[in-house]
């Protein structure tokens, strides 16, 4: 019984990032705060980039696609917009994972900038060209900037989370 309970706990901890990503996409959880009129960030990008880069077994590409699909429905965007944007962020993360031997916060952080630029460019391009939506360049810029700035903070949190989860698994 204790073993079953322990396995259940391990599975729950392992699914944590995926549950968080789905919850953010489907619920009213706001990552678009308008304090000072400029502060918004894309939490989905941070979660996807970190976990695809660090532990792709925890966050599969299929789930990234589904989360993008859900996000499009909830925000009434053309289906496939967020999915494409998230998958390209995953592509950059997969590239960095394959190309580099040893990851550190700084390599992660600066390559994340490339991921943000590509992800937001696809998002902007599809919305602007095909959905005819008006997009403010400044909002997009601030969104990208704060997503980039906040990455080390969440990187630290996820590292702690990963240590706790792995130490549980190795016990």
């Amino acid at each position: 019984m204790a073993l079953v309970l322990s396995n259940l706990k391990d599975t729950f901890f392992k699914l944590g990032p995926l549950i968080l990503l789905i919850f953010i996409c489907i619920s009213e959880f706001h990552t678009q705060f308008y304090y000072w009129g400029i502060f918004t960030f894309n939490f989905q990008f941070i979660i996807i980039y970190y976990w695809v880069l660090r532990d792709p077994d925890i966050l599969g590409y299929g789930f990234v696609f589904i989360c993008g699909f859900i996000n499009d429905v909830v925000l009434s965007l053309p289906l496939g917009t967020s999915a494409l944007s998230y998958l390209f962020v995953s592509l950059v993360a997969a590239y960095v994972r394959t190309a580099t031997v040893r990851n550190s916060l700084f390599t992660d952080w600066f390559t994340f900038l490339v991921a943000i630029i590509i992800g937001n460019f696809i998002y902007f391009f599809l919305l602007n060209k095909f959905a005819g939506a008006d997009i403010k360049y400044t909002t997009l810029f601030y969104n990208s900037l704060f997503t980039f700035i906040l990455y080390p903070f969440f990187w630290g949190l996820f590292e702690i989370y990963k240590k706790i989860t792995f130490s549980r698994r190795n016990d």
Partner: protein, 285 residues
């Protein structure tokens, strides 16, 4: 140089096509699938629209349920804040009560006069629109979209473009209709453009969302000046979609630009009425 290009190609190919031990799909397949879904959704085929409508309804319901912890935490915070400020509020309410008592006589007279005038005109005393009341089930903003989801759709007679009222004031219009849910584009959304008339001058303008709380007034004549009396903005009905004469808000000046302080606060919308049609003889109201 060519070696580094080869390396890049190998790494990209590996990232696109490689599947991990627990990955069922490669990135390449999923990117192609996303593109296919995107093209299909933009094709405007009727079966695709029906399918999207069903998906929307399903996900909105799940979304409303999964958002309940967030709503509960928000409500709990409001509850505690209200209790902390009860004493101050009590003092304020006492003062307001005194003021209202004195105004009561005046309003009784006005009410009587109003009833008399309405009887003379033989107008209906209820709302000038036949409406469907609905509850907001989802309110998720993005940097690019200010919209809310309501729990009524085509099953209640709602159609695209219908005006949505909150406490009698215009809050937005319907931009997406599913079977049991609809999406309202709020007036402060970047994509919202509504033809309006500014009272009392009767000037025509376009109310345009700028992504902030207060939308701006555009295409005003060069000689437009704000009068001493407060200027109120109403729908003009020039687009042939919205009914004319729905109150929207008051004109405010900010950095020499004209904005409209909305009567229906876009952040406080919980229940709305979708105006299905204007009742006859209501134009005089």
């Amino acid at each position: 140089m060519s070696t580094s290009r080869d390396d890049f190609g190998i790494v990209i190919r590996s990232a696109l096509l490689q599947r991990g031990a627990k990955q069922k799909f490669s990135l390449f397949v999923l990117i192609l699938l996303s593109l296919f879904v995107f093209v299909l959704d933009n094709s405007n085929l009727k079966p695709v629209k029906v399918l999207r409508s069903l998906i929307n309804d399903g996900i909105y319901r799940i979304s409303a349920v999964s958002s309940s912890p967030i709503r509960f935490s928000g409500a709990s915070k409001d509850f505690f804040v209200k209790h902390i400020f009860t004493y101050e509020e009590n003092k304020r309410l006492r003062k307001e009560l005194e003021d209202l008592k004195s105004k009561n006589f005046q309003s009784s007279f006005l009410e009587a006069q109003n009833n008399e005038l309405q009887n003379v005109l033989d107008l209906e005393k209820n709302s000038p629109y036949s409406v469907v009341n609905a509850k907001v089930i989802l309110d998720k903003n993005s940097p690019f979209l200010n919209s809310v989801i309501i729990n009524k759709g085509s099953n209640a007679g709602i159609k695209l473009g219908m005006p949505v009222l909150n406490e009698g004031y215009l809050a937005g219009r319907i931009v997406e209709v599913n079977f049991v849910s609809s999406r309202i584009l709020l007036l402060n959304d970047l994509n919202s453009r509504i033809p309006v008339i500014v009272s009392p001058s009767g000037t025509q303008a376009i109310l345009s969302g700028v992504g902030k709380r207060e939308p701006s007034l555009e295409y005003l004549p060069d000689n437009f000046m704000l009068g001493e009396k407060e200027s109120t903005v109403f729908t003009s009905g020039k687009d042939g979609v919205l009914f004319p004469g729905i109150a929207i808000g008051k004109v405010v000046l900010n950095d020499n630009k004209k904005f409209v302080k909305l009567f229906a606060d876009p952040d406080q919308i919980n229940f709305v009425s979708v105006a299905l049609e204007q009742q006859e003889d209501s134009g005089a109201r």
